[in-house]
């Protein structure tokens, strides 16, 4: 479904992404891992069209989407939830999701019909499935951090994507929230057949949810494969876990 081939991107001479490769199959849950600063977020920005890669190709359903505007990429079916809560602070929770749903339904330009009567069902169903329904009237800026992150994901779902990109979906969440969130992600994948690409620090989550894992370091793809394959790869252990080799062994034993 999505294919990144040898993408490169530099900022002021610093190569944030350097020959990254990624394959995401339809319906799969794919994780990207790597130390802080490895270029995961930049890679996602390239896919979402926020930056244009210097070289390389990004193919979505066989079509090169390099250089398309973000809104165009979204309309092709890629939605993205951001690492930091990237919501509409002055709008209500309902409106936050509604904006996205309306955009997906191509109704953003409708002038003379009250928005509050449009796309209500779709919006509510997304709010319900993310557990935000009882907070629908709240102004988004007043939500807790965890709720903002969930709202973030709900906005992404509003565009009815085929591929959902999640940037550290559980960062800053409590273990309970994390569990709920990852259950939601799995549910979305199974019930809606959504393809999911995410990056995450929490190895437990990565290894329990992802069907395929791509490891990045210094902007480069080290390996992409099934969890077990990745876990066994020495290069990954060396690179990703740095000097903490002994500890990581402990973990995998446990």
């Amino acid at each position: 479904m999505l294919r990144v081939e040898a993408a490169e991107k530099s900022f002021d001479g610093f190569k944030a992404v350097n020959r990254a490769n990624l394959v995401v199959e339809e319906g799969a849950i794919v994780a990207v891992i790597g130390p802080n600063g490895a270029g995961k977020t930049t890679l996602f920005n390239l896919i979402a069209g926020i930056h244009k890669p210097d070289t390389g190709k990004i193919l979505f359903q066989g079509e090169n989407i390099c250089g398309l505007a973000p809104y165009d990429i979204c309309r092709r079916g890629i939605a993205r939830a951001f690492q930091i809560a990237n919501i509409f602070h002055r709008l209500t929770v309902f409106e936050n999701v509604q904006v996205s749903v309306l955009s997906q339904q191509r109704k953003s330009g409708v002038l003379f019909r009250p928005a509050q009567n449009l796309a209500v069902e779709e919006t509510n169903s997304i709010l319900a499935s993310t557990g935000l329904l009882n907070k629908a009237r709240r102004v988004a800026g007043t939500l807790s951090h965890g709720d903002q992150r969930i709202l973030e994901m709900a906005i992404a779902l509003g565009s009815q994507p085929r591929l959902l990109i999640l940037d550290e979906p559980t960062a800053g969440m409590s273990p309970e929230e994390t569990t709920v969130t990852m259950e939601l992600v799995k549910h979305l994948s199974q019930a809606r057949g959504l393809t999911i690409l995410f990056c995450e620090h929490d190895m437990d989550i990565v290894f329990s949810v992802a069907q395929s894992i791509m490891v990045m370091q210094h902007g480069q793809t080290i390996i992409q494969g099934e969890p077990e394959e990745v876990r066994q790869n020495e290069q990954v252990q060396e690179a990703y876990l740095g000097g903490a080799l002994s500890l990581s062994k402990e973990t995998s034993d446990a």
């Binding site: 802080n36 903002q148 620090h201 929490d202 740095g242 000097g243 903490a244 500890l247 973990t251 446990a254």
Partner: protein, 232 residues
């Protein structure tokens, strides 16, 4: 030296810290561990005064410091190295150090020459602009810059983040050397291994709550905490 007692901090309306408490004794290296977004940086910013906790107290050398401007805290002897690369991009390395220089109260203080002794690399790039440094160079410069204010107490927010292993080793060595000069250090880290090698005492923060505190040995022994709140 530093006592943080039950602070609650908000960004706008979102509640980040929920009653965080921690203590740092003179001469210690204390480490605050936690994942991305757990509240480490907010704790550091609350201490240095960049955000003001709504509740709770922070005492430094016995004085209440909540609500004080960051510059007064710096003058009281707190040095701060932020996690983002907050090097002044328009200024050269030398200028970055120069503006931070302050006369030491007891005579022998830090000056540029002494910082260059600790980080010889910086001397070779003295006239390069901050914006053109690599990540490791920026990190060294940030630490050097904090030292120029002659702190008694140094706050390091993720000093190893994004650094190559070799660089991590170098920074670790320097931190240990600094401790020998009598400096007290509070650092945050995601890289558990590195943090544990350095510190005397550790706290684990998650979701704005302190979930664990104890010596390094205790943390090493506590598998559950490590698995639950850290990445390992």
């Amino acid at each position: 030296m530093l006592e943080v007692d039950g602070i609650h901090t908000y960004y706008g309306l979102s509640h980040i810290l929920f009653g965080v408490s921690l203590r740092v004794e003179k001469g210690q290296i204390v480490c605050l561990l936690g994942r991305n977004g757990a509240g480490k940086t907010t704790t550091m910013k609350s201490i240095i005064g960049l955000v003001r906790p709504k509740q709770g107290t922070i005492r430094f050398k016995g004085d209440e410091v909540v609500g004080k401007a960051p510059y007064t805290l710096a003058r009281k002897g707190i040095g701060y190295v932020p996690d983002e690369r907050k090097i002044f991009a328009d200024l050269t390395v030398g200028e970055n150090l120069e503006i931070a220089e302050r006369k030491a109260r007891n005579g022998v203080g830090w000056d540029r020459a002494r910082v260059y002794e600790v980080f010889p690399v910086l001397k070779t790039i003295e006239s390069r602009r901050g914006g053109y440094l690599s990540g490791g160079e920026q990190r060294m410069l940030a630490i050097g810059r904090a030292l120029m204010g002659n702190p008694e107490f140094l706050i390091l927010d993720e000093p190893m983040e994004g650094l190559a292993p070799l660089m991590v080793r170098l920074i670790e060595e320097q931190i240990l050397r600094l401790r020998e000069t009598g400096l007290t250090v509070l650092m945050t880290e995601q890289n558990v291994a590195s943090a544990l090698r350095l510190s005397d005492h550790s706290y684990v923060i998650d979701d704005g709550h302190i979930r664990f505190q104890g010596t390094v040995e205790e943390l090493k022994a506590n598998d559950e905490v490590r698995r639950k709140y850290l990445l390992v």
